[in-house]
């Protein structure tokens, strides 16, 4: 029982990280329809930011975290400016920015791999390692509550929803589309960065950590559905539980457990592409 509970807590904590990455996707997909695979690389950039500020310069955790997140807002905004806005303004379809962002993914990763040594780099825990899981869970819950309140209760959040439902109508109602897009990318980068920073102490900052996170986060998103914010968290939790319980209890070699999220992704794409939660009408 003790064992089971510990496993449940650790699955919840990693589910929270997947949920954050899924939320980052969701923030960008809802208003723009753009699937940005670079979120994994953004998480990686934030993890390296954590290494530089918290390990090398030994800043206090809240300050370091604040700087990293502010930097991520900037990264997201700049990415949108360079790789998305020119294409949207040219009237290119949704595929062109998705491909351009794949280019950004590769460029981001290579810049990091040029600038840092290739070994995994340590990032410190925010609180004592024993309580770190609860810290991750708490922060994630706070972010999700904030995101939920934002979408449900604020005019700004409603304008996001309006753009998601009908771009043209939203623009005609006086919503500034390019501002919404810029904001969604900045927010997505910050949320992805938070996920990267939270997971970094456990897995260390490494330049190849992005793609697996991107796939796990996306799987969480597909499971939960892109319609609702809570779906991202639910998807993340389900995925993490499935993953960790297969590793622990299923009689298959550990390597195969890496295949669990991928199988989940394929099954859900095929059986239930709208996700578990339906979008609200």
């Amino acid at each position: 029982m003790q064992d089971f509970l510990e496993l449940a807590v650790s699955a919840t904590a990693s589910g929270c990280v997947y949920g954050l990455i899924a939320l980052a996707y969701l923030l960008m997909i809802r208003p723009t329809g753009i699937i940005n695979f670079a979120v994994g690389e953004w998480a990686m950039v934030a993890a390296f930011g954590g290494y530089v500020l918290l390990t090398q310069h030994e800043l206090p955790y809240p300050l370091g975290m604040g700087i990293v997140l502010a930097f991520m807002l900037l990264v997201g905004w700049v990415t949108e400016r360079i790789a998305v806005r020119p294409l949207v303004e040219k009237g290119a379809g949704v595929l062109a920015p998705i491909l351009a962002l794949l280019g950004v993914l590769v460029i981001t990763r290579e810049i990091i791999s040029v600038s840092f040594p290739p070994d995994p780099l340590p990032v410190p825990f925010a609180v004592d390692i024993q309580y770190y899981k609860y810290f991750v869970i708490g922060i994630t819950l706070a972010v999700f509550v904030a995101a939920w309140l934002f979408f449900e209760k604020t005019v700004w959040g409603r304008s996001f929803e309006a753009v998601a439902l009908n771009r043209r109508a939203a623009a005609l109602m006086g919503i500034n589309l390019s501002r919404v897009t810029a904001f969604s990318f900045a927010g997505g980068a910050a949320v992805a960065g938070l996920g990267g920073l939270l997971v970094a102490p456990n897995i260390s900052a490494h330049y190849l950590m992005g793609v697996p996170l991107a796939i796990q986060g996306f799987t969480a998103l597909v499971i939960g559905g892109v319609g609702r914010v809570e779906g991202a968290l639910l998807g993340g939790l389900l995925l993490a539980f499935a993953e960790q319980f297969t590793i622990r209890y299923a009689p298959i070699p550990g390597g195969f457990a890496q295949g669990v999220p991928l199988l989940f992704l394929m099954i859900f794409l095929i059986m239930r592409p709208t996700g578990l939660l339906k979008a609200r009408a």
């Binding site: 020119p86 595929l95 491909l99 280019g103 796939i215 295949g259 992704l265 794409l269 095929i270």
Partner: protein, 305 residues
């Protein structure tokens, strides 16, 4: 006649090259073959797939496993390998293409990753992380094909692929693919079965990639998981976009350029040529969506006026 000439020139070139350059040349030809197939899928039919390289791997692994672990004769092994590719392709494409949007890309991304996981964990069957090595192409009709002669096989494969794709592109099927890419609703209204066209294009190009993989298996006489990872699937996409998607010549230019670029760049940037690829790809999408071939067209247009 032109095809025969191209065959003689391209395979003749192999006899003029040394061992090392011959090796580079063959791999370049294989990349061009893959890029041509991928171009048909992505550029002409408008489907983003990340599994093209996985099918290359499925072809390579299945022929090696069939030949050397199940001791199937070569012609049968080739047919079975193609069959494996087709079955896997259909299993992914039929459900994925029913859905609108980007789902094929995601399903194939999962497939590509899953394939590498299976290779790594396959134990004795796939040789695990080390892959399978130390085998040789079985003799056919008492002949052992090797060295530059094997390059001839690759050239034959390349030209066969190109021939099939050009014929298809000019047929009703190619036009249906382009129609599906540009406007699926309009295509459906014209009586084209959109889902079936997508599935057919995906399965066909995946099978072609599988055949290329079988040929690849005897280039280095080793197959191992890292070769068939996601990195190369990205590279393939970059090649087609940088060269000019939707055009056979574009795919050839992109593949040759991005394949040779690391050799020229390595004195300057070492192993960081992927950074240059990313920049090129981004520049292509932002500045010249038709790629290098589009740039060439523009130049020609300007001078001919």
């Amino acid at each position: 006649m032109r095809w025969l000439g191209a065959f003689l020139v391209l395979s003749g070139a192999a006899f003029l090259l040394g061992d090392y350059h011959n090796d580079v040349y063959r791999k370049m030809l294989l990349w061009v073959t893959l890029a041509l197939g991928y171009n048909f899928l992505f550029g002409i039919c408008g489907q983003v797939s990340f599994s093209h390289f996985a099918f290359y791997g499925i072809g390579a692994y299945s022929v090696v496993i069939l030949l050397f672990q199940l001791h199937v004769p070569l012609p049968l092994a080739i047919l079975l390998g193609v069959a494996v590719c087709i079955v896997v392709a259909l299993a992914v494409a039929i459900p994925a293409t029913r859905l609108e949007g980007f789902y094929l890309a995601l399903a194939t991304l999962a497939l590509a990753q899953l394939f590498v996981v299976l290779l790594n964990e396959g134990g004795d069957i796939t040789g695990g992380t080390g892959g399978i090595a130390n085998y040789r192409l079985p003799a056919m009709l008492g002949l052992q094909i090797r060295g530059p002669w094997y390059t001839g096989v690759i050239v034959f494969l390349l030209l066969l692929t190109l021939w099939v794709l050009v014929k298809l592109d000019r047929s009703w099927f190619g036009r249906a693919c382009r129609a599906v890419r540009d406007n699926p609703e309009a295509a459906a209204a014209m009586g084209i079965d959109v889902a079936r066209t997508r599935v057919a294009a995906f399965t066909l190009t995946s099978a072609l990639a599988g055949v290329a993989g079988m040929v690849y298996a005897f280039v280095d006489n080793t197959v191992n998981p890292p070769i068939f990872g996601l990195e190369n699937a990205f590279l393939l996409l970059f090649m087609v976009i940088v060269g000019g998607s939707g055009r056979h010549a574009g795919a050839v230019i992109g593949a040759v350029l991005l394949f040779l670029l690391p050799f020229w760049l390595s004195p300057l940037v070492g192993h960081h040529h992927v950074l240059v690829f990313g920049v090129l790809m981004l520049a292509a999408i932002l500045l010249q969506p038709k790629g290098l071939i589009g740039l060439w067209d523009q130049c020609r247009h300007r001078f001919s006026r």
